[in-house]
Amino acid sequence: MTKQNQKFILDIISYMLLLLGAVLMVGPFLWMVSTSFKLPGDQFTKTLIPPTFTLDNFRELFSVDLNFLLLFWNSAYISILTTIGQLLTCAMAAFCFAVVKFKGRDALFTALLLTLLIPPQVTLIPDFIIFKYLHLIGTSVPLWLPAFWGGAFGTFLLRQYFLTIPRDLADAARVDGASLIQIFWNIYMPLSKPALAALAIFTFQGAWNDLLHPLVYMPSVPDTMLTVGLAFFDQQMRNGGKFTVLMSGALISILPLLIVFFFAQKQFIEGISLSGMKR
């Protein structure tokens, strides 16, 4: 067998395997879309194309006692606040660690990295107790407020990026009399858009998809996040048995992230590579 032939055959095999895998990866999503457009009576039909196409499930979703719009709004503003908090406070710290010279810098940075080892379950219980004493359980505050005190992951990611920005820029600005804050805000932030975008997407995704924290802090419907609402809805539907409406809810809940993903795929993937390669 010639080498060309061998490569051709291997390519075909690779294609087949990748295609099979892709069907397994995307299949559940296709099923979700398909079911959400089926009539309740057709919910268990094993065809991908709905026998009768309907939009009733979506209409029902917004009319049931579960306030879907409220869930959506809660998820949106909590995720946005979380993202703003993380971008701002992580960038502030990352700038100090990457650019400024001060006593105890390396020790502080090491201490920050060590916090990556603390599982979220360890902080959850004392945080819950504190927020309970502040009468904030049932509100969204415990979900977004901690985002405003920095974090090891975001600080690390941005610091690594800040380090790649040529020092000459800061030096030149310094000669021209720029302050640290000006260098941070007018030079480092605008030049770090790719890293900031990657971190923003990561943080937003994490907040939007989070289940454990809203389950602890905003445990009761209707005033909670989409994830908890869907989990609650799931239980109701299991008894009532309307999977079509449930699927339309699931579809709408993933739609914002899907849209972001299709437009900013590069940032998604860069975020993982950035955090993974240089850790």
Binding site: S14, Y15, L18, G21, M25, P28, F29, W31, M32, F44, K46, T89, A93, F95, C96, V99, V100, K101, F102, R105, L108, L112, T115, L117, I118, P119, Q121, V122, I125, P126, D127, W149, G150, T155, L180, I181, F184, L211, L212, L215, V216, P219, L226, T227, A231, D234, F243, L246, M247, A250, I254, L257, L258, F262, F268, I272, S273, G276, M277, R279
Partner: protein, 295 residues
């Protein structure tokens, strides 16, 4: 100390202002939480009556209480199944994608999709797929002339849940491995091919040793994720009364604290989890020094 800008005069104040949120997080968020959880683990507290000192009773329970022991063995079993699954499958996918063939971007999008979307939403579909009488999986099995399986019953739920968790993690693993694979210079494979090495030899003698850093990293991350896995387990295996057919430690912590108001016991479990993960990380770092090749 490395090079860096020196704060001038009043800028010292601004420097610490920039660092203040991180300080708050370090002192209250991290250090304070760890100390508080350790203290709580030696106490009995339901948040309604004043806390009482419990000594090591909560830790004794960890080794005596059958349910708590079962949650630990479940977590270990889950990890043992999940970590190799994620590492091997995502490496395999990455190797296939690293071949220069057309349409790779489309495949990458497809494989990454589960990593983007919420586990809660996709778990709802998996529930339909796994359904005993109405599910697609059993429909396919029956078409193939096989017996239907009760996927989410106690005997099989662990495997069903591990499969879904792996499905959700392949996308990220694949990206990590692709980054490692593309960093290998082409000359290595070309030189080996000239010397007559076949594809398998090239993979095991060149590719695999050169991506040990990626394998190490992915194993580490997957292990941490395995010990914290919650969403799919909650969505697919929960039962009435806050129970689950695959109660892992994280599930048990939640139940202990927020269903039974046993915050001391839950804290002891959280500490248990932390100690095990820390020990595993130390073991991995030891392995890294021995076996991981950095160029």
């Amino acid at each position: 100390m490395e090079y860096g800008l020196k704060p001038l005069g009043r800028e010292k104040f601004w420097l610490w202002a920039l660092l203040t949120p991180t300080f708050i997080g370090l002192i209250f968020g991290a250090l304070g939480s760890v100390i508080a959880t350790v203290l709580l683990s030696f106490a009995e507290w339901d948040l309604l009556t004043p806390p009482t000192w419990a000594g090591i009773a909560n830790y004794v329970e960890l080794f005596k209480d059958e349910k708590l022991l079962r949650s630990l063995t479940n977590t270990i079993k889950f990890t043992v199944l999940y970590v190799p699954g994620v590492v091997i499958i995502s490496l395999f996918v990455a190797v296939l994608m690293n071949r220069r063939i057309r349409g790779i971007g489309l495949f990458r999008t497809a494989y990454f999709l589960p990593a983007v979307t919420s586990a809660v939403a996709t778990a709802l579909v998996w529930n339909m797929i796994y359904g005993k009488d109405t599910g697609i999986l059993n429909f396919i099995l029956e078409r193939l002339g096989l017996q239907p399986v009760c996927w989410l019953c106690t005997n099989n739920a662990m495997y069903a849940v591990v499969i879904v968790n792996i499905w959700g993690a392949i996308g990220e693993g694949m990206i990590i491995f692709l980054a490692g694979l593309t960093a290998i210079p082409h000359e290595y494979h070309e030189a080996a091919a000239i010397d007559g090495a076949n594809g398998f030899q090239q993979f095991f003698r060149i590719t695999l040793p050169l991506i040990t850093p990626s394998i190490f990293f992915q194993t580490l991350i997957s292990t941490i994720n395995a010990f914290q896995a919650y969403d799919y387990i909650y969505m697919l295996t929960r039962r009435g009364g806050g129970d689950s057919s695959v109660p892992v430690v994280v599930f048990s912590i939640y139940r202990n604290a927020w269903n039974f108001f046993n915050y001391g016991g839950a804290s002891a479990q959280a500490i248990e989890l932390t100690v095990i993960v820390a020990a595993l990380m130390a073991f991995y770092l030891w392995l890294e020094r021995r076996y991981v090749v950095y160029e």
